[in-house]
Amino acid sequence: MKNTELLREETFAGLDRRFKFVGIAFAGALLIMLPTFGVPRLLDIAIISLLFAVMAAGLYLVVGLCKLFDLGYAGFVCLGAYATRILLTKLEWGYLPAAVCAVLVATFAGIVLGLPTLPLRGDYFAIVTFGFAELVILLMRNWTGLTGGPYGLGGIPDPVFFGFQFQRYPPISYYFLLLGITVCIFAVVWFLRRTMLGSQMIAVGDDEKLCAVTGIDIVSVKIAAFALSAGIGGLVGSFWAIYFKFISYLDFTLNLSVQVIAIVILAGDRRLRSLLLATALIAPTSEILRTWLRSLALPEASRIAFFGMILILLTMWRARPRSADRKSIFVVCKDWIEKVTRKLSLNGFHTKTTVSLPHSFDTDLAVSGTRAFDDVEKTEPAKPPNRPVLAISNLHVSFGGATALDGIEVTLCEGEALAVVGPNGSGKTSLLNALSGLVQCDGNVELSGRDIIRLPSWIRARLGLRRTFQHPRQFDGLGWDGNIHLASFSSAQRPLGSLLKRITATVKAAFVPLTLSNSQILNPRPESPARLQLQRAFDPQASVVLLDEPLAGKPASWISDVLDRIRTHKRSGGSVIVVEHNVQAILPVIDRVLMLDKGRARFLGSVEDYLSFQSLSGDLNWQQLKG
């Protein structure tokens, strides 16, 4: 098994290498030699395509990585363009300081917009960003004194770099400047993905709930992504000003935002090459269409109609419920090229590209390297009680009219393991949700003496609270190691602080590189999510671990592994709360049992007392349900 796996890995990497070499060589030569080709409008089309590429890179951070739907990107480009123009003409700055200022203005706007709106849910956020872009345009339109108002602003001079005067016609110098900017921005984005901040962005885009319990500061990450994308938009705007030489509010309407969104949606996955391919497909087409339609005296409207239909078709293509079904534009093209070359019998490309191995739990153990322990038949002797670590009193959870938990009271000590049992619907998972902060609750919960009931999930995670889910969750965009590293990094960070400190910490995460190989980042192999979340939960920093039905339907080897982990954790002073139906299996490591029924605690005490309670209760219904 291992050998075939390695072989596939190598051929995949080899294929990858070949494609990469060919791709980069071609692209590089093409781009550098472009101005010399005799095609008349080529340079203009190339410049506009590169502009869209940079905008797409900026939007990629927000829409591609964090999966936030930003409809107002044109607003940032607009701010950058106007800022540059005003600084260049009214204050007679050079282009470089003007561009820097434009980026700062746009970033500032991004932060101001992002702070109140990023917590909003998906479509509301989209609408607010749309409103923002429209407000920016309105501001530009109504501020005649500063922005030329509805007249627009012209008279933007050609920049002078170190004595070299740019010439607008033909725009060769502009082309190379933009090429440089594009390469830089893409390099920045590429590097960002290989840092901890990039992982956090991917995580936020994948599963926000999981982020919360892993200790990731979602709001800071979103603000960082949003601000960065706004800054890139500002940079594009500043180039826009000097290239087009005339800007008006009509240049930066929803149409522009929509075109960039279309590119990002078309790209499909999170790879930069898909983004580039999507830009190469959409931007030149858009430009060529514009010229062609204009020569036919067909209005701009036809181009907009075309884009509208493209958008609808793209959504339908991309809206498959399971993201695994969705192939990126890059993979689609690659498959198509392979099919064609195979038909033409050109070179022997290997056929299989996707690798998915069936996993059994036995191999899981081999892969992750934990040892299988024999079942320990006897129970652990009861330890003398240590300091209380989790104090729950008067816990009350209700949804709408229904009460899930009522008046729960229990104190967990260090090194203690508590089992929570009870029939379905008795409130066990609600208890875990309330403790980890995913659900609103009333009452008193203290973790190591600190009241956590008003604290959000991610702070609780950073204070040492961990949990697993009944249906295992993982960050699909990151591999096994990515998940683990991200989790341990995030939960190791400082739990509390002002917003400024939080954002500073998030920005610092941008400089923490991932110690993973390329293939590990880009080819996250499907792993056993259950094992992954266990490993994540039992990291060294954890103090209280909440397990939600870890043994459900698993084989004996798995069960003993779980028990072993719990033991190790207890020995090092941590505590565990386990929700479990398979009470027999979990008893060896349990100190106390809490039995819930319809939201109320029916029993709380040691294991021996519980066993006698159970035999005495004679509650037949419950006996049948407990399995």
Partner: protein, 381 residues
């Protein structure tokens, strides 16, 4: 991998070689003159009229050339949709096209202002047949312009107001280049003539309900209202104003005065509107009659006054190119040589010659009042 590397370089070399070939050949084909204007969009009717006017003139020239053996001329469309940024894109196309020695464009002032910088950088002379903003000629040495300036309209309207004892004037201006420009020059002239501007309200091209603005205007009880904008919006505003019992006299610029649709759509509300405009069609000069007839024959409808300007512009372009050829610099010099009345070009609008800024030296702009559903030209003084 070796094969791949070799293959890549070979393909690249071939590709680069192929792209270096195939440069365009000037040859002796038809001469292309660029035409920039709003061929689609909200002001499409203006642009289409002008395009047809220019096309009509070139058609006559081509018929002549076929008989006498000369080069043919053709118009290359550049649709700017009355939007400056689109005009820039059009300008870039024209500038990059070495086959185009001269451009007729643009119609809207904002478009001309935007595009002229591109033309200037490429040395491409451009002749506007419709822009009235004062800065168009000054903006670039390569820009020439045949219609009158906004300041002339403002002065004419202000003079009319003084002459007819309309002391208190409210302004309803579109928040766009033309409307604001006209309002500004009117305010300047009004200031010089001691008229009072009681209030100024502005609207956007997509405003549909002018009643709130008109409420504010009616509060001040003005004698006259300056309608500074284009007729699609102002025809609605006029109707709403009359419905609100605002009886002030309507003074309007050529955004209203050059269009018959205003009278058609505003109906009785349009009666009594005093507008500036070219009014060449109403002027009933014999040359214009001939043009009207030919236009109607070819296109099936009556031309508007701007088409006359475009006709003349095309004629001027032909005169210049046939004399000095297709070199852009030579054309520029030739256009600048029309710098006095005796050297003027004889157009349908009258003698056309340019001052130092490239603006046509014009007589007074015409003034007309709407009576019985028609424009009746009235004397300016």
């Amino acid at each position: 991998m070796r094969f791949t590397k070799a293959g890549t370089f070979a393909t690249l070399a071939l590709f680069i070689f192929l792209t270096q070939c195939g440069r365009p050949n000037p040859g002796t084909g038809p001469i292309s003159i660029g035409f920039g204007g709003p061929l689609t969009g909200k002001q499409a009717n203006y642009g289409t009229m002008c395009y047809r006017g220019a096309e009509l003139r070139l058609g006559e020239i081509n018929a002549n050339a076929q008989a006498n053996g000369g080069r043919q001329y053709q118009l290359v469309r550049g649709d700017d949709q009355a939007t400056p940024s689109q005009a820039v894109v059009v300008a870039q196309e024209f500038a990059a096209n070495a086959q185009i020695p001269m451009v007729l464009g643009h119609f809207n002032s904002s478009c001309s202002l935007a595009a002229q910088k591109i033309y200037e950088a490429a040395g491409l002379p451009n002749l506007s047949y419709g822009s009235t903003n004062d800065d168009v000629g000054k903006g670039s040495p390569l820009t020439f312009r045949t219609p009158y300036k906004n300041s002339l309209q403002g002065k004419t309207l202000a003079n009319y107001a003084v002459a007819h004892n309309l002391k208190r004037i409210a302004i309803l201006a579109e928040n766009e280049d033309y409307g604001r420009g006209l309002a500004d020059v009117f305010k300047k002239s009004a200031g010089e003539l001691n008229l009072t501007i009681v209030t100024e309200k502005s609207y956007n091209s997509d405003t549909t309900d002018y009643r709130p603005l008109l409420l504010g205007i009616s509060k001040e009880k003005p004698d006259a209202i300056l309608l500074a904008g284009f007729y699609p919006q102002l025809q609605v505003a006029a109707v709403q104003a009359r419905a609100m019992k605002i009886n002030a006299v309507f003074l309007a610029g050529d955004g209203v005065g050059s269009s018959l649709d205003y009278i058609k759509n505003a109906g009785t509300a349009a009666e009594g509107t005093v507008a500036t405009g070219p009014f060449l069609i109403e002027n009933e000069r014999p040359l214009i009659e001939g043009f009207k007839r030919k236009f109607k024959e070819k296109y099936g409808e009556e031309p508007d006054s701007w088409a006359v300007y475009a006709y003349d512009a095309a004629g001027l372009a032909y005169t210049v190119i046939s004399k000095v050829g297709t070199d852009r610099a030579a054309i520029h010099k030739a256009l600048s040589d029309f710098n006095s009345k005796d050297k003027a070009f004889a157009g349908l609008v009258g003698p056309i010659w340019f001052d130092n800024d490239g603006d046509a030296v014009n007589e007074d702009v015409s003034l007309a009042i709407v009576r019985n559903g028609r424009y009746v030209v009235i004397p300016v003084r």
